[in-house]
Amino acid sequence: MTTSPTPPSTTAPASSAAALAATTAKAGKRPAVRTWSDLRSETATRRSAIPEGLWLRCPGCSQMIYRRQMEANLHCCPECQHHYRLSASERVKQLTDPNTFEPMWQGLRPTDPLKFRDLKPYPERLAAEAVKSGVNEGCLAGTGFIKGRPVMLACLDLSFMLGSMGSVVGEIITRAIEHATAENLPLVIVSCSGGARMQESGLSLMQMAKTSAALARYDEAGGLFISVLTDPTTGGVTASFAMLGDIIFAEPKALIGFAGPRVIQQTIRQELPDGFQRSEYLLTAGIVDRVVARPQLRTEIARVIDYAGK
């Protein structure tokens, strides 16, 4: 099921920027290849791909913030740490050590197996999405290093058809899992998705079985799968590989669920509890292992890899 994302929560948290400052690469046996200050200066000088204003109003704290400053802060609000959504390439850049990421299976392209047509034919949507997002599909995968540890990394991309899983996304995720199995690599998948892709109907649905079956084999081989859930992760992606992590991390306040809040509300016809389906709620419900803020993500992934002895 595909659901539309909801706007981020408007409740302003009182968390400080101290947490961010406290995060450096000092934990871990192996030296970090890149520090967060390197990364910050990198993103600060990089021209923004988003052609919007220099200033924006933070949906987390309603303050006007300087876009460059937000981007330099791992795309988090410098005032309230609201986590802005990331493209897959930005995510890869944030997570991996510089120049270590080698993208794979970039030649995979969606087709139109069902000749799907709603108000617009599917091929037209695909073309428009490619122009808008600058990518050809909703998943970027490859090998790389996180704080010096080799990993197989796959990141979904919301900017392409809401990160929905069709044949290509399912195939890339499956190949990533199979590659991690064959090469005995820890697997990190960063999810953000509206769910399965309606325009590929039954074939999208089958990607759920395909990716999950590949994870069974990875599990048999003793693999370590760290699933990182980010805002929003819903529908068929949640109900397949995203929930199958040996370790599941969630970014703060991310919307994570099977059904979207609107569908639930329409079904049960009552108000949803405060913070329902947000990371912190899932932590209390026992569904995720840790809520990890973006500045700590690299450290936390590296730590789990070390604990698992991978």
Binding site: L114, S201, L205, A209, F241, M243, A259, T267, A285
Partner: protein, 339 residues
């Protein structure tokens, strides 16, 4: 047929039914008068014969019309048939094709979801584990079953019993019939997505034969959650897709109405024929003329025959072979280009 469930495409059939009914009551009136000795003179046997002939012709016509209507059902009409309240459900098939059903309840963690039925049974000489969604027949049962929308405990119960089947080398037969997994607060809180995901992963490695049949509605992950099988079939007028036509219409057409639902049903390629062409299912089980809701026993007979032949095909395979083939079956699904 309950008055509240009208299928638009059967309208010509209803008209014929009315004509037949009218002719029959006319015949009844005529024969009633014939039994009255005073009125006997006024009618001839010809009159009766004429009426009887007319009724026979109408009945033939109706039979032909029924067959032809169901031969060219559109996708949205198929969805309507798949949801027919008299269509056989999991418990009906259990009743009709199995013997000595030993129902097993509960997930040992939270509760017993009536929307998911599990238990040992015999089909022919074969001992099996049956798993299936149950929609419910009476209003009370429907509400208890959430209209066939299972909760996480339903999926966990299914997996627990399937693992039992693996342990005792029993083949698993699953009946899929759900609009989708239940979208609610408790379901989310108890990990609906995780429950389904775990079923997908674990079913892929169960070392015992699994056959699945979409008997009515195959709605999205909630359907797939018990359908990662070695052989998957659909009843002729069932549907199987990533989302319901209404859900799809509401998102892509911005509004769900008769027209957009119909368009979405067509676009989703959700019929048995479509799913067979896409390689998602392996077989279509024919339904009696006019659909399974007209002849539950006939439907059950066809379903039983398919289940037995599918189990026969899988009989010789070792557990390792089974899961290797099952992996390959799902691994190849999906279509893309590589440049």
């Amino acid at each position: 047929m309950p008055a509240y469930y009208k299928m638009e495409f059967e309208k010509p059939l209803d008209e014929l039914d009315q004509q037949i009914e009218a002719a029959e009551s006319q015949l009844k009136a005529v024969t009633a008068r014939a039994e009255n000795p005073e009125a006997r003179e006024s009618l001839s046997d010809e009159n009766v014969l004429l009426l009887q002939g007319q009724i026979d012709r109408l009945r033939d016509q109706r039979e032909g019309l029924l067959a032809s209507l169901y031969q060219k059902l559109g996708p949205w009409e198929t969805v309507r048939v798949a949801r027919h309240p008299k269509r056989p459900q999991t418990r009906d098939y259990i009743e009709l094709i199995t013997k000595d059903f030993c129902e097993l309840h509960g997930d040992r963690r939270f509760g017993d979801d009536p929307a998911m039925v599990t238990g040992f049974a015999r089909i022919g000489k074969q001992r099996v584990l049956v798993v299936g969604h149950q929609k419910g027949r009476t209003t009370q049962e429907k509400i208890a079953c959430h209209f066939g929308c299972a909760h996480p405990e339903g999926y966990r119960k299914a997996l627990l019993k399937m693992q039992l089947a693996e342990k005792y080398h029993l083949p698993i037969v699953t009946f899929v019939d759900t609009p989708g997994a239940y979208p609610g607060i408790g379901a989310e809180q108890r990990g609906q997505a995780e429950a389904i995901a775990v079923n997908l992963r674990e079913m892929s490695r169960l070392k015992t034969p699994i056959v699945s049949i979409v008997i009515g509605e195959g709605g999205s992950g909630g359907a797939l959650g018990i359908a990662v099988a070695d052989r998957v079939a659909m009843m002729q007028f069932a549907w199987y897709s990533v989302i319901s036509p209404e859900g799809c219409a509401a998102i892509l057409w911005k509004e769900a109405n008769e027209q957009t639902n119909s368009a979405a049903a067509a676009a989703l390629r959700l019929t048995a024929k479509d799913n067979l062409e896409l390689g998602i299912i392996d077989a279509i089980i024919p339904e009696p003329v006019g659909g399974s809701h007209r002849d539950q026993t006939g439907a059950a007979k066809n379903l039983e025959a398919w289940v037995l032949s599918a189990l026969e095909e899988l009989k010789g395979l070792s557990g390792d072979d089974l899961i290797a083939h099952r992996y390959a079956r799902f691994r190849k699904l999906g279509q893309f280009a590589e440049v």
